[in-house]
Amino acid sequence: MAPRSLSLQNVSFKIDGQLILQDLSFDLSEGEILTVVGPSGCGKSTLLNIVGGNIKDYEGGVFFRNRQIDTWIRGYIPQHLGLLPWKKVKANIFLANKINKNIRIAEEEAFEIINELSIGDLLDRYPSELSGGQQQRVALARLFVSCPDILLMDEPFSALDAFTADTSRRLFLKLWEKRKITTIFTTHNLLEAVMLGKQIMIMSKIPGKAFRIIENPLLEKGLERNEENCYQMSLYLRNLMGEEFC
């Protein structure tokens, strides 16, 4: 078994007395993807914001490789991508290197990522001049160029049409496979959760009240991650969620 690398211990969070997360604990092994599914408002984004360092007044502990989470570089893609509209594509991609001097990536490697995502000819444009799919690819480039220790992805493909989302997902997987960065990926698309996750966390619609982590049934049963199998497993997951949480 791979060593446990990302560890959440009894994490709770309240906003104005209202409970958002309660006693959330889990361990995620190094180089694995945890997909988090659940209805809107169940605390998925809150979880990412806690790990990402945007929420600091939570209770409990978050550790990565046995060190406080704040000391690590976390690559974060929010729902609306968070590209800075006033910076051109190139400046957006290399933003992390300007902010944190510890982040160093060889220019060659950075341009390899850019070429892999086919955005080499967009570098001199502003994000608002790009299509949704192109913006998505720029966000992916920024994510991987920042050489993160952990990836946090908040429904990154939810605003795209089915075809573009599929292309983006494949591009993401291609880049991820080469680096195997520990990842938390939230989604409300069960098919996506099955396609990407080694482990799947199901959160209930009652804020913070219940959660459950299961091994991806596909991988457990040794099935191939093709469309047919993923679809069947997403149905299985839906039934499971229906019984227990919704």
């Binding site: 990402g52 570089i73 976390r74 800075l84």
Partner: protein, 213 residues
């Protein structure tokens, strides 16, 4: 323009221009600092907001006698009046513009370990620039009006003095020249703001043009 009419015009125009520019720069710096602090600190905002809202509707021109008592009748009073009148509008515009920046833009930076100064440099300063320039356009007109009033007291330099002096001496030609000159100064300053906008805020124009089709 015959020399008798334009005589001394350069000196008067320069005196007015200098007062407006110094006043606007001081107001912008103070408004910027105040706007950023109140936007980033909820506590400070709670403390300053009532003061801001209570003092905002007070007609600041009515404070001219008090400002004159405190700062005398010299240059300082004229600049202080401009600052007093435009600083609150700038501060409120800047604070609101910062609060309108999507939180996600800050989150991306914080997960990379950014410090507050980097939020200001990479997100706040460029993000609010279009709003700051809009606020400057509005307040510039007000600043020039205030300047005109303050220049009618305790000075023999500036276009306000020049216009009123010509008017009192029934020298209407000179008076009109003064009015046209002060208008040209306003126009040139407007142009300067537009050029800044064109150079540094192209990203916001691209968005607007795409939205308009």
């Amino acid at each position: 323009m015959p020399q008798t009419i334009s005589e001394g015009m350069g000196m008067h125009a320069w005196a007015s221009l200098r007062r407006v520019i110094i006043g606007m720069i001081i107001a912008l710096v103070l408004g910027y600092i105040g706007g950023v602090l109140t936007a980033l600190s909820r506590k400070l905002n709670r403390l300053l907001e009532p003061l801001l809202y209570l003092s905002y509707p007070v007609p600041k021109l009515a404070l001219l006698p008090i400002v004159m008592i405190i700062f005398g009748i010299g240059e300082t009073t004229k600049v202080v009046m401009i600052v007093l009148i435009v600083v609150f509008q700038l501060m409120i515009s800047i604070r609101d513009a910062i609060l309108r920046i999507p939180k996600e833009n800050f989150f991306v930076l914080s997960s990379l370990g950014a410090r507050k100064i980097e939020y200001i440099r990479h997100v706040i300063m460029p993000g609010i620039l279009p709003n700051v320039l809009s606020a400057l356009r509005v307040t510039l007109g007000i600043a020039i009006s205030v300047l005109f009033v303050t220049e009618t007291f305790g000075t023999d330099k500036g276009l306000g003095f020049f216009i009123v002096d010509a008017w009192m001496r029934l020298d209407y030609l000179k008076m009109y020249v003064g009015i046209v000159t002060i208008s040209i100064i306003g126009f040139l300053l407007f142009l300067l703001i537009d050029i800044t906008d064109l150079l540094f805020c192209r990203w916001s124009k691209v968005k607007a043009h795409l939205a308009m089709g």
